[in-house]
Amino acid sequence: MIQFTTWDILRNLLYATRWTILLSLVSFIGGGLLGMVLLYLRTGRRRAARIFVKYYVELFQGTPLLMQLFLAFFGLGLFGIDVPAWLAAGTALILWSAAFLTEIWRGCVESVVKGQWEASASLGMGYAQQMRHVILPQALRVAVPPTVGFSVQVVKGTALTSIIGFVELSKAGTAITNATFEPFTVYGFVALIYFALCWPLSKSSQMLERKLNVAHRNH
């Protein structure tokens, strides 16, 4: 039997952490891009599109991420393709992130007072111009801290993909526990690595909020 030193455990966990980081990046960026499209539909002029996005968001915020992962895993399989875990994980996390980011950003766009829309409309601007020159520059200031804050949820969300068999930090933790019989040390390290990934993001979100001082601007 192979003997595992503490360093071996940590090294193998860190080795698996890159998949957590990669999946987080893919989910966050993919979810952000899809979220922008959904935001456009949600704040746009077409009623049917607004309602569709509203229910899309409700659906993803009102069901467990784990269930979404299972449905992506088995749902994609219905089309007769052999679904690798990374594909199901990426698909579900992108759709899930998009729902949350759309809702966060909608709040930010709506925080820009109505008069700004009217003022820009009276200057003869179209929707795209209003967004580009008037609304987004103001909304972005409000949007940065909660968006960075949400990235923490994405990193934590990737831990669930271990259940459908994607090998990332949590799954590596389980595998190494089964080999070493040292669950206390292994899961302790796993928790600390997640903390090391998430805490700087949480802190920078708080710092950005203070720096942009958006919460108390109107008080």
Partner: protein
């Protein structure tokens, strides 16, 4: 797509789903009640507690908020026996949910307390209230009223997050879905049905909590 959806298994397995819903609700209720109690205790300790206690609360809140729930659950269920603390799957699931909601709730309630003007403490003191009475009647209750919507959302997030406890063999709704799909080979349908149930539970729980908010905090002018 040549797949035929088949929900015939529902006839045989629906008692399992009902039992699963019961366990999910039990976990949520225990988690919510004790989690909020822990959150209030932590918020009190952070606002008015002794210094050493305050120094303990901060790392607790930060550690829980910056690690995934599933890792917390595995640490409690698989990790703690390593140092001699053995818990069954239900106590471990309950403990993980209480600790989790305690940390998030503490941060939410703290935000409510911070929004309370400083003069309120002094007003309470000038009415000869003890610091604890001031905390309870003047600070906490109006704060809870203010942050009740955020706390309700967090309880729903914890309910949805409890799907993970199936991984330590606690027999909740997700466990039932896993069991059914392994027996009936109708994976998509089993998860589709259980996801719909979760959605309904979330909608009902939201209504219940907002109703509870109206009962607990009848109209009082706070702001």
């Amino acid at each position: 797509m040549r797949y035929h959806f088949d929900f015939a298994w529902l006839g045989e397995y629906y008692p399992m789903l009902i039992k699963g819903v019961g366990i999910t609700l039990e976990l949520t209720a225990v988690g919510a009640v004790f989690g909020i109690a822990l959150a209030i205790a932590c918020a009190w300790a952070r606002a008015l507690g002794p210094r050493w206690l305050r120094l303990l609360i901060v790392p607790y809140v930060e550690l829980i908020r910056n690690t995934p729930f599933i890792v917390q659950l595995f640490f409690i269920f698989f990790g703690l026996p390593g140092i001699g603390i053995k818990l069954g799957e239900m106590p471990a699931a309950n403990l993980a949910m209480v600790i989790n909601l305690g940390a998030y709730g503490c941060e939410i309630i703290r935000a409510g307390i911070q929004a309370t003007p400083r003069g309120q403490f002094e007003a309470g003191a000038s009415l000869a209230m003890t610091p604890f009475q001031t905390f309870w009647h003047v600070i906490l209750v109006p704060s809870l009223q203010r942050i009740w919507p955020a706390l309700s959302s967090q309880i729903i997030i914890v309910m949805l997050g409890s799907a993970v406890v199936s991984q330590i063999a606690a027999e909740d709704l997700t466990f039932a879905a896993n069991f059914i799909q392994s027996r009936s080979f109708r994976a998509f349908e089993a998860y589709f049905v259980s996801t719909t149930i979760y959605l309904l539970l979330a909608i009902i729980l939201r209504q219940l909590l907002s109703g509870l908010g109206r009962v607990l905090f009848p109209r009082r002018s706070v702001r």
